[in-house]
Symmetry: C2
Subunit: 308 residues, 2 copies
DNA sequence: CTCACCCATGGAAGCGCTTCCACCGCAAGG
DNA sequence: CCTTGCGGTGGAAGCGCTTCCATGGGTGAG
């Protein structure tokens, strides 16, 4: 029993011959370890939690979150681990605390936490539950390199003759927004064009309103870059309502390359967000209890379509 | 210890006074049951599996599946239970078998199984793991009433003067497709219009190709109804490429009311699919180990927009 | 050839719960 | 007033693992 346990566990010290014999016997007998018993004995959780800041509706509808959840579930399923999906209301400092009290949670993936408090694992849970972020600045994180992504989009817009480029940003406390802003300032400065920034929140509705705001403040805008395809689609919608020709009068570009980006009219120029590789890396790091650098960035590639 | 266990468990027989005293003590001590220990003792699973027939890419991208997964996760999180998301390749008769071997899985939600085999819990696992379907015909299921939904859409199309209405269906072994087909036949027969049916699979790509097929076989078609907004968006795309005016020449209607239905040009007429209530009902039934009728249908309401 | 040492191994305890079973005190019936 | 029966209660076993600890066989050094 003890030897079998050691042979089956990757961390156990058993000789190679024993390990092989145990594996063979297990296969022959159709033995499968009982996750509950293992979790009980090791005092570790049997599942990882995906935590998103925001409200129910947001979580359910944002395809970005759906992609993260699905990719996490995919990794977890292959490791025989469960997943739970949680959304934490903003301004709820105790959020992660309540979650980590549950002894069944062994790891947390924090998705684009909208506040630092949402990414902070309480002291009492340190060591027992690990946290990895997707775009968090408080825990080791993986994210898309949206500085380069932004630079690519802006260079593309500049190369196609656009000079008065507005950007619909994300919440400004998000690291990805910060990186994109830096890249935007650098690119516009180099091109000698003044910055035109409007805050956004990655939703289509906000993209719509932000576009109206842009057209009011800077009527001569000739390109709009939205951090997030949903916002870009909202922008497209707003321009259509005002009879503005895309890309004739104004070019539109998004970020993320959602499946819907090809279905809009005109199809949306965007830059990829490799959500699945990023999520897979985060989940794997968590499940293997590896240590990760503070930030690992994944490249984004430009996909020019008819909207620019 | 024993008494506390009984008092805390809903099925235990403890007097009300004890139950209250135990609850008070638990609150005071901050006691939280250990799910792993409970699972070990009761030999039940600590999580529910969501099973979708198809391939990885399909699972990750289909917003319908994402909604089901998210809603399941939502219910599970509130009950302190994990979720795992699985996709089973078609033509894999042993699929559910392997899944139920895992003693950690206590229940299965089968989502629109594309083959009966995918919905069949092996004999060895009966009693230990329960299965509930969303649109399955082999296990107790919840689904949208797409017969009425289809009827409403067709009546709307007929009322707006359309007479040559084609339908892009779903896989014909799915109960929801069958119900929609019956409703379509009934409505077209009553209106004295000939049926125009093209098989689909709920994807945008297939919607695009199916539309080309429709225009080739029946050039005078004046309306296309797709079972699934994604297919409808694909149809819209195909018509745009051929310069067909929507809704001037051909009206388009979808099914599901995805968030993107409002962002297309023109916005898509569709009928709702209450995925969240349906999924919540399925998950709740599963977690409470209730028995459910073979099929419970949820109403769908028509949302007329500019595409018809 | 002997001794010390090291590593692989099996025994046994224990993780935190549920549930069987025996027990006790109570109310109702004889 | 004693017996029977029943519902509520605590003791104890056991769910299937991991891990500490003691043991034994093999190795290298003396």
């Amino acid at each position: 029993m003890a030897t079998a346990s050691r042979a089956l566990s990757p961390r156990g010290s058993a000789s190679d011959s024993t390990r092989l014999r145990v594996a063979a016997a297990a296969r022959e007998l159709g033995y499968l370890p009982n996750p509950a018993a293992r979790a009980l004995a090791t005092r570790t959780g049997t599942r990882i939690a995906v935590v998103v800041g925001g409200h129910t509706a947001h979580v359910l509808n944002d395809p970005y979150v759906a992609r993260v959840a699905a990719a996490t579930a995919s990794v977890a399923a292959s490791r025989d681990v469960g997943v739970s999906l949680h959304w934490l209301p903003l301004h709820d400092p105790g959020g992660l605390g309540r979650l980590t009290e549950n002894r069944d949670v062994g790891g947390i993936i924090v998705v684009n936490p909208t506040e630092p408090a949402l990414a902070t694992v309480p002291r009492s849970a340190r060591g027992r539950v690990a946290a990895i972020g997707i775009g968090s600045r408080d825990v080791p994180s993986f994210d898309v390199d949206n500085a380069t992504g932004t630079t690519n989009v802006l260079e593309h817009l500049l190369a196609t003759g656009r000079r008065r480029i507005a950007m619909i940003t994300g919440p400004d406390w998000l690291p990805c927004t910060r990186r994109a802003l830096t890249a935007y300032h650098r690119a516009t400065e180099a091109a000698g064009t003044p910055p035109r920034l409007v805050p956004g929140d990655f939703t289509a509705t906000r993209g719509h309103h932000a576009t109206t705001e842009i057209l009011t403040r800077w009527p001569d805008t000739d390109a709009i870059f939205a951090l997030g395809d949903l916002s870009a689609l909202g922008a497209l919608d707003a321009l259509r309502h005002r009879g503005v020709d895309v890309p004739g009068d104004i070019a539109i570009a998004g970020f993320d390359d959602l499946p819907y980006a090809t279905l809009s009219h005109p199809p949306l120029t965007t830059t990829t967000n490799p959500v699945e590789p990023i999520t897979t890396a985060a989940a794997t790091t968590l499940l293997d209890r590896q240590t990760a650098p503070p930030l690992t960035l994944y490249p984004s590639t430009l996909i020019p379509r008819a909207s620019t």
